[in-house]
Symmetry: C2
Subunit: 319 residues, 2 copies
């Protein structure tokens, strides 16, 4: 899989010292620029390697299916991404990733590279607001990586890159809904079981339990449940601008995503919230799981500028 | 669905006279340029509306799920796409589409717009070589639309646009493999049945029968069977260049597509055929069908230039 992925995307990235577990962006890292390293398990394609390229992430460390990469490829990424101004690690808040990226951060700092870390925690269904730091990072990574990559590419300091990324994470809200499990290639089994007429709101991208399991409802009702949760946390005022990502978990086709998007727009419009930009498609999947997630980035002027900053990656090309 | 799709992609397209069945590219049609109209049933997203935009298709007519659009929206598309130099219709060779697009062509010509038609027939498993004109158009549409859109955008004559498109169709070879059926939203039933350990090579994008149903084989073996079929028809010499599309039918994740791509590249490399450009992902789907297709465009200098010509659409951005 990695051989195919690396060669399919060779226009944007290349292996670091021959390792397909550590990939660096062509024309990404450069002297005087903060480096951006992302990573995580496979099974979420096009995340994470689709977000590597000029103007976005400088390097990606790749683990096994739904597993963190070990520290070594992460350190290789840090070395490759370093331009002498420090390196930012941005990845989802999962125990395995935290352990491995923290070890890698120590090892990279021993080699003289200052490391800062932003854990993504956009999945608001994964833990209550009082435990915001315990939340998982999911498809909203798309926005958080984009902002981080743009801040780094603009030549901001490590402090400023970290601050912009942290702000993007604080202002990104995701809720998913699962309809069918994925099939794990290692075991040839489903990663969870769910009745044919049931759905689970808030389920994570590895099948982590959500907030409620119930009978399937209409697309509009599902979006309403998701947006109600997001509106509880997003302090948006009339006239505010957002970016929207409607993401398939894998097997849910674009036709259904468009139906979801329609209702998202209606709900935002009812509050006079303007969609500045949107994406609908496969951006952070869970193998062949059926379901979708909705992510909203609550913009401010800086985030808007960073969102539109040019980048060239397999998934996202902005010029 | 159409409301959501039109509003998700409003950056690239807009309804013609308020009809969501007929969409025109923003900044696409212009005086002195041949217009390009594409279209077909829904259920194949991001085909066909994802290919509408400056430098690619000027307008798209949209039918119900797996059904041709009726003549009226096609005529609207022809009128909207016309820049006084004629309009090219490019669509897959299916009886319903042929009937409706031919009626629309007559109606548009009555209004003074010269129409030329290229039927796409890239699915080499759909009929033997002796019946090349009886073949179906499938994911290789991606390349044929791209070439047609670039020829139109370059300001070529209607004759030259038609000739380039016809050449692209003659040099595009697709074979698909199906592992599981899709679920039809209208009926809530599968569109065909296949055993859990079986696959069907050559199956069409609406579940049309393929060339062989057999036990599932490894990814490499499946690619070998597909590429052997393609090599029988593609008269490529060592040093020739191709474009490659590895397309998911819907539920097959990118991880599996990368495994297929790896073997495609190996098979091409063994013949000293060079990959000029490649795409791996969801480009022409069949709702949530599991399976994939491989399309190869055998390039020549003109096709290479047209392939790289800039375009701006929801699916494809080349600058």
């Amino acid at each position: 899989m990695l051989e195919g992925a690396v060669s399919a995307h060779r226009k944007y990235l290349e292996p670091i010292k021959g390792s397909q577990r550590a990939l660096v962006a062509r024309y990404g890292p450069r002297a005087g620029k903060v480096g951006l390293v992302i990573g995580g398990g496979t099974g979420h394609e096009p995340a994470f390697l689709g977000y590597v390229g000029k103007g976005l992430a400088d390097a990606v460390a790749i683990g096994n299916i739904f597993s963190s990469p070990p520290p070594d490829p992460i350190v290789q990424c840090a070395l490759a991404a370093s331009g002498g101004k420090g390196v930012l690690f941005v990845y989802g808040n999962y125990a395995g990733d935290v352990m491995n990226f923290e070890m890698a951060a120590e090892m990279a700092e021993e080699q003289g590279i200052p490391i800062r870390t932003v854990l993504t925690t956009d999945d608001i269904a994964s833990s209550p607001l009082e435990d915001k730091d315990g939340r998982r990072g999911v498809a909203g990574n798309f926005f958080i990586f984009k902002v981080a990559g743009a801040a780094c590419d603009q030549g901001l300091t490590l402090d400023a890159c970290e601050a912009a990324t942290r702000k993007a994470n604080d202002r990104t809200f995701t809720v998913g809904v699962a309809l069918e499990p994925c099939s794990m290639p290692q075991t040839r089994r489903h990663n969870f079981e769910i009745g044919p007429e049931d759905m689970e709101i808030g389920m994570g991208i590895h099948g982590e339990p959500g907030v409620s399991r119930e009978r399937i409802r209409t697309a509009d009702e599902v979006v309403d449940a998701i947006m109600d949760n997001i509106f509880k946390e997003m302090k948006a005022q009339p006239g505010d601008r957002v970016a929207v990502l409607v993401n398939s978990f894998g097997a849910t086709p674009m036709m259904e995503l468009y139906i979801l998007f329609r209702r998202v727009e209606q709900r935002l419009a009812a509050k006079n919230i303007v969609i500045e930009a949107n994406w609908v498609g496969h951006y952070c999947t869970s193998l062949d799981m059926a379901g979708a997630s909705i992510s909203i980035l609550h913009l401010d002027p800086q985030l808007t500028e960073l969102l539109h900053h040019p980048c060239e990656t397999a998934v996202l090309n902005i010029n």
